[in-house]
Symmetry: D2
Subunit: 363 residues, 4 copies
């Protein structure tokens, strides 16, 4: 269903950017997992607006509250409802939006689909919707880490033309968090920050690439046909606001190679099988092979800019619109925890599916 | 579930490359659609091996038979089962595969997951599995064309470094079918064919890009959050054998632009809304906006090559393996009908979902 | 998934009897439906404890709040989150439950399944869980009434040996609400009330039968095989706390007839088809035939009694347990709005499925 | 979806009574289960027509063929497609059905829903559809027996007024198979057979009750809310042709008791918990408690009778119809393997769900 994600570990999110709140129901969580708000809040803090000078200054504390599914600090196996209240309601800031469709936003398509929209700040199409994903993903990450030994992380790989030098095998979470760009290459990070600040001053925006990594995934997760691990990751990533592309392993670059160059040779070592290269990105035939999973997500420059643009009004008459107030000149730094959350949600779902069908956690 | 795709128009495929057959059950098809094998066979013929000198010479007629769901040439609304018998069973050709894992194939990951595999020709991981998709997709395309006025097509956009000049707005199916490369740019097609023939002689393989297009999709198809139209397309495409990447509209290239350059201005014309550019690729906020949908899928060079490679055997000892017999030096020409089928399956599912929730076919 | 119900109109409920609250997310609601809390609260008031002298005196106002999915009093097409805070938290009243399993409650089975339970008042197994169903069902009923002309109601048909004389074709909602037993036969109602009061004084409980009715359902709703309309109703009803049986139309009584006696003859009148009897209960082959749908649900005498009983403690040692405080001597009167809610949820889901596949609302 | 049943062990059936064939795809089967046609055929033989003098003499061998999902006699973990060809096609026998709706059959409702029907012998509404269920259920039973130690069986408990004396705790499969009525009480069986023969001669039909039993189910299977074990059983049973009612444990009879009489006391023995009575039918709060699960299914007298009846024709004009040829005067004996199949399908699905969420097979 449209607002649920996952099969055995399933999140259902709800909420608009303005209204009572934003939240998520997590269904299928294993019982007896230690869980309090303190496990979730740090991930929301990495996602929230106002966290640094290169993101939107919108003020929201995004404080999470567990409404159900735990007892004395442990999960019950029943659905976990997480709620974040909306705080920064300034409907007056959106009065022009009530009358005009913002270019390359979802304003027009929502009206085309539903015949109605909440014009206050984007409604359901607002990036605030990702709060539920990050909150649910925090639980998924905890399960992966504690019960399966899997580590998930991501980082800003590229902003416009500025590319970072990074290695999916060795990059660490502290390196990612070491700067406000969330880019583990300090030189590139510095240049990215300068570019983003320049864009903010110009009222414009830039896009880029987030690279996602999962290490420690055992061989055997994923399904052979439609629910290939890379297919579920692709869906997860393309479901994010502003995402325009996904590739895994060698990805789009791999098409320049021949098959003999591209194949990853298997070698045996100490009774285990590993590949000597990893152009496959840790997945073969839709199923993890034990190597590091890594992939990239392309985010477009966000549509909200502080520049006058051509558009139409709700009466389908030509008009112009100039964004006012706050904007996020580059979503990449805030996208990092969201990509991690979605990655964790995909993986924990497949971990449980593996356990259900094959009776083991992978090999 | 792993072998089903779609919610309201759902296909469930089964079958291995060697065994009784390959097939699909189509559930949710509208009743009273005129349907015989003649509606499906031409798409299977575009997919089948042996169709030209640049694809694998494996001989399979891939003749489809409707086992259920129609009566006197019309659909009943009940599930449609389509069956294609396997013909070219040569288990002796695969004896070495019984003992060794082919590099960058699914042999090893299937064993890691299931503890068992059908080593005859790839089993469920064989590209023969896509027969069910193409057969089900043929029905989806018919519904889209006849009941919603939507046209789906795709073509080879790039083989290794050879890029075609094409326009998603104007390219036609006859142009695609005009040559065995399925590339509507005749000059590029000629060069692609030469390259593929060279690869076949070398026992090697090449990859490339297929571009998919859907024209005539009304505004309003797609869901706002997880089941965004581009998310479902991404999953559909990354579920294909050898697919490594997906991007839509401006895609990975769009990250070099700024927001003011990237936004698609809305303009009104004759009481309708349209954008003057289409960097969004026909989708905004997960929902179609009425413009042409276009996207790209990256296919790696296929793993089966006729060259000796390092690998391990099923006892986890180092070994070498040299492919023998037939191979497909470039899957792109045969991938075209498969990309079209998956595109149609995604779209018809969203058409029915739109009708269910909103009571109209879009605007 | 375990905490979701429905396919196209799907509710996901969460919450324990003690904890932050109880709620539901409604996904798939058509847009532009007028909806405020005033549409939902009356149904919750019919369900809530403390409403009369024959139900549990537990004090809960069960005030609902819409957190998302509406704007200016209309549904957006996005998920509707409904929240009811828990008020009557008296953990001290449950201290004995922390140590002992109540007979014929879910205490033991939850521990067997999850290895943990919220022992405060039943946790997720509490009848408070049905708040989410009734809240979601109120929206379903509104859609059925306003958009499809379908009326859903139910009533107490039997309490222990006291049977009501009722006619599914003519009974009205005011008749049901005319007494606190929710039995439209006033004489039977009076006797039921006396029996229930006697049971309350004895610290014991009684069960009975609720009859459910849906009038105005067009022919064509339901699916032929697994999702037969009666199958979905059966699941809906057997998912209710204390439900032990379901039958439809002639039901268990019909087995005493022969086929010639049982068949409902079709007759034509004014270009429409109707049956002259209705032993089928409005459904044939899983699909509605236009006649009134009616069925019965058997509820056991509830397990909470104020009498000493044999049981075991959490260390698996024999023990005795005597319920204390408040109890509900007969759940039937409060079950009425819950049966109606589940009926409405089943029907609206099939209404949307009919619209999706067949493109019409039934005939 | 309408033609699929189950979440983790999912069957998708297709096929009409006349047409290419009938079949099922089983998705989610654990790998490495020994499986050949010989595991499935005996269950189909128990279901097939022509097996005794009290069932329809229609001649069908119902020979099953495994098309996919196994290799060298073991399951692969991939979807298992099972096919049974239709043999007894006598379209001329159904010419009158093309023009008239049979009373209390699905003929009219299919037309109301789909605007089309296969009038040859019932099409999708034919009891032949249950072939796919029985075939899939045979695999489910094998898994339950070999991997979980669970035994499933059922038997004819009542035909019209003739009730059998049976004990769910001790009845055996050989006792059930000892006579053609499939009633383990020999005296009752004899009377049932006489009644059914009398009905056949009269061209009439009778209904009755099948009792289903599952022994050895560990505590912990089932979900607390919508997917309660009894709810899924109820849906499974009410999805069967001619089923009109379901109750479990004390069922409809339990409403005559009070709570103190009805509660099942827990007692500890040898470190395990068991109840001293079993009015709950082995399930409390939707979750198995380790006791024997038993329930009843009411089947109406089948609608096909050899007597003239009032009906309407396809032009909605009054008409009469007299059944000709073969009929099944009582479906109960053939319903036994079908009830067992559906029970097994429900249980194995919950076994896998338990394993997925809780990481153990129950307690």
């Amino acid at each position: 269903m449209p607002n649920s994600f996952g099969h055995l570990f399933r999140i259902t999110t709800w909420g608009e950017s303005h209204g009572g709140g934003i939240g998520v129901v997590v269904d299928g969580c294993p019982p007896r997992l230690a869980l309090t708000e303190a496990d979730i809040q740090p991930e929301l803090d990495r996602r929230r607006p106002g966290q640094s000078r290169i993101v939107t200054p919108r003020q929201e504390s995004d404080t999470v509250r567990i409404l159900s599914g735990t007892f004395e600090g442990k999960t019950l196996g029943t659905p976990i409802c997480l709620l974040v209240q909306n705080e920064d309601a300034r409907p007056e800031a959106y009065s022009e939006m009530a009358e005009k469709f913002r270019p390359s936003h979802a304003d027009y398509t929502y009206v085309a689909k539903y015949g109605i929209r909440n014009w206050q700040g984007g409604g359901r199409a607002s990036a605030r919707e990702t709060i539920g994903r990050v909150a649910g993903g925090a639980i998924a990450r905890k399960i992966l880490r504690e019960q399966f030994g899997v580590e998930v992380l991501s980082y800003v790989k590229q902003v416009q033309r500025i590319q970072a030098h990074t290695d999916p095998e060795t990059v660490t979470a502290p390196q990612v968090e070491a700067n406000i760009a969330r880019c583990p290459d300090p030189q590139a990070a510095e240049r990215m920050i300068k570019l983003i600040e320049k864009m903010r001053r110009a009222g414009d925006s830039v896009g880029g690439i987030v690279e996602g990594v999962a290490r420690g995934v055992p061989a055997g997760w994923g399904e052979p046909v439609f629910d290939k691990l890379e297919a579920d990751l692709a869906k997860a990533m393309l479901s994010l606001p502003a995402a325009k592309g996904f590739d895994i392993g060698s990805g789009f670059g791999g098409i320049l190679m021949t098959g003999t160059q591209h194949n990853d040779p298997f070698r045996a070592r100490a009774g285990k099988v590993a590949t000597t290269t990893n152009l496959s990105g840790g997945i073969q035939g839709g199923i993890s092979n034990g190597a590091t999973i890594y992939f990239r997500v392309a985010f477009k420059p966000v549509a909200t800019v502080m520049v006058e643009q051509e558009t139409v009004d709700i009466h389908y008459r030509n008009a112009t619109l100039k964004g006012r107030g706050r904007h996020d000149p580059c979503v990449l730094p805030r996208a990092v925890p969201i990509v991690e959350a979605m990655t964790a949600l995909v993986l924990v779902d497949h971990a449980l599916r593996q356990r259900a069908q094959c009776g083991n956690p992978g090999t």
